[in-house]
Amino acid sequence: MSEITLFLIRFAYLAILWIFVLSAISVIRSDMFGARVPADVGHVERRAPRGQRAKAGRRRGAPTHVLVVDGGNAGERADLDRAPLLIGRGSDAAIRLDDDYVSTRHARIAASGEQWFVEDLGSTNGTYVGAVRITQPTTITLGTQVRIGKTILELKK
């Protein structure tokens, strides 16, 4: 077989190898940026300006704010309209807790559809729903006690 054919085969094979690698990378890229936001009423609502959302009318009994029921900051609250809410000692937190056992970015409260979830953000001391330390986003309802450090939070109407 002629030298030139072998040369072409060699190049073609390297090209195939890299075409494969680059396609794999482009799939990863589209996986990163192309995720689909579920066409879910809750999300569409939250994207709307706050005034409109208030007018849209909430279901009876849906929670409206998070209240600190126990701990150093008892009585502080944050509206769920601004969800997702960050909870921690940091200055960017929606509820800022002066509690030595709370991490800077400790937990987050966010909604999926009608439900509210609390999610631990890799805090040092953990987030407890009831008596259980949570390892994944956990549903909370009205009155569920979420313990963060020495502080207890609840969803309120």
């Binding site: 054919t5 494969f20 689909r36 390892t135 006690q145």
Partner: protein, 467 residues
């Protein structure tokens, strides 16, 4: 953090179509490589290309169908990358077979078939990776037993100075390859329970949080096991792999750099001990520092392998000699430990870089899975498995390119070797299972959303009094 970036903000797409597309491309890499070998060596399309290609395609499409059925949300890139590497490995082994009149490629294809069957079995049987957490201590125990098996007088076998093989009848097997998967499960299960004690207790020395003395137990035990592997089995690579794996998982679980310092110094101590006590470690070192003084007439000629490998890679240059135009048979064990050198010689730097990028993609997808995963055990297992790949590839390719002293480990998916191939396919099945769980949309946890007041009452019952 924006809503889109949050865990609950978006649903991962299934991407099975993208996976199929990449798998077909990966078949071009595998079968194209086989054809290119035929052209280069025998100047014709290999006569069995239909049978070989059909078999490979059937295996790969089989894995795709299994994933579609059992893990529809699994990562779309992992499987194609593995299939491309495996196909490329088969082609290179076939190329060496043609040069040396052996029949390793057919055996490797058989092992790949077994690997794919186990891959399918793992995905079919294991529907939730969290089940594995129950077998923490069992898998740890089995791993230790497997590591000890080659030491038994009848079963164990000394091959090339390392006692890492067992032989039952005609079948040879390296139990260490299975042990590494089990060790990941054992470490992850142990650390997910004990990480608080390991992370929080301790005293501060200078700027480092050093762990408590009694928490050092597991890491010391692991250090002794790795040293034992080094001493009794003379297997440098595996001991490095096990210890490094444990250290990385410990660090990931506790987020305490103190462990890295403790582990790093233990590693250095172990390496120094190995260097002073064992002739073969010293020899590896001296070959690494000056391979040329171990090459050619009048020397012990123990550096021949690494020197030939570097000659090969140097001769390969940027785009390689092309399949069939190199002389890879000059390297001993070219089909197993030194397969990367053959790729460097015949496909050049361009091909070698593509292979390294492929490994990088596997590791990246593993770590990405760990990030997205919702439970601590899954996170640690995914990190551990990705880390096994990263360490193993670093140790092997580093050894072949003389970046670090040579240690015997297989190049995942490329090297000839049944135990390693089968174990790595199972690792990929585990990673796909975890990523399927992680990328699945959040399931509906709550009870009846129509009765919020009722739900409130229920929670009142279990409400904790402030302690």
């Amino acid at each position: 953090m924006s809503q889109n970036g949050s865990l609950m903000g978006f649903v991962h797409r299934r991407r099975r179509g993208a996976e199929l597309f990449l798998l077909i491309l990966s078949l071009f890499v595998g079968i194209g490589g086989y054809a290119a070998v035929g052209f280069g060596v025998q100047e014709k399309v290999p006569p069995d290309i239909i049978g070989y290609g059909g078999w490979l395609a059937a295996l790969i499409l089989g894995t795709h169908i299994i994933v579609r059925i059992t893990a529809p949300y699994a990562d779309p890139v992992l499987l194609p990358v593995v299939s491309a590497l495996n196909g490329l490995g088969l082609a290179v082994i076939h190329r060496l077979d043609l040069a040396r009149d052996k029949d390793f490629a057919a055996q490797q294809l058989m092992w790949m078939t077994i690997g794919v069957l186990l891959f399918a079995g793992t995905l079919l049987v294991l529907r939730d990776h969290r089940v594995l957490q129950r077998f923490t201590y069992t898998s740890g125990f089995v791993a230790i037993v497997l590591l000890l098996l080659p030491m038994l007088p009848v079963l164990g076998q000394d091959i090339n100075g390392a006692r890492i093989w067992i032989r039952i009848g005609p079948l040879g097997f390296q139990p260490g390859e299975v042990a590494k998967v089990l060790l990941v499960l054992a470490f992850a299960g142990y650390l997910v329970l004990h990480r608080d004690a390991l992370a929080l207790a301790g005293r501060r020395l200078l700027f480092l949080d050093l762990p408590r003395g009694r928490d050092l137990g597991p890491i010391l035990a692991m250090w002794l096991v790795s040293l034992g592997v080094l001493v009794f089995q003379k297997d440098l690579g595996s001991s490095l792999l096990f210890f490094g794996l444990f250290l990385v998982l410990l660090y990931v679980a506790t987020e305490r750099p103190g462990w890295l310092v403790v582990g790093g110094s233990l590693f250095l101590a172990g390496a120094f001990l190995g260097y002073t006590l064992f002739g073969h470690v010293r020899q590896r070192f001296s070959i690494w520092l000056d391979p040329m003084s171990h090459y050619g007439e009048g020397t012990d000629d123990r550096g021949r392998q690494i020197v030939e490998s570097m000659f090969g890679m140097g001769w390969g240059g940027l785009i390689g000699r092309g399949f069939g135009n190199g002389e890879p048979w000059r390297i001993s064990y070219a089909e197993s430990d030194f397969i990367f050198a053959v790729i460097g010689e015949e496909l050049g730097l361009t091909g070698a870089m593509a292979v390294i990028v492929c490994y990088g993609l596997i590791v990246e997808r593993g770590l990405r899975t760990a990030l997205v995963c919702r439970d601590g055990f899954g996170k640690l297992v995914a990190t551990g498995l990705a880390c096994v790949f990263a360490l193993q590839v670093f140790v092997v390719i580093g050894g072949v390119t003389k970046l670090i002293p040579l240690t015997g480990l297989t190049t995942p998916f490329l090297s000839y070797g049944g135990s390693s191939l089968v174990a790595n396919w199972v690792i990929i099945a585990l990673l796909l299972r975890i990523s399927d769980q992680a990328r699945r949309p959040v399931p509906d946890f709550s009870g009846d959303p129509e009765l919020p007041d009722n739900a409130a009452e229920v929670t009142q019952v279990v409400k904790l009094e402030k302690s």
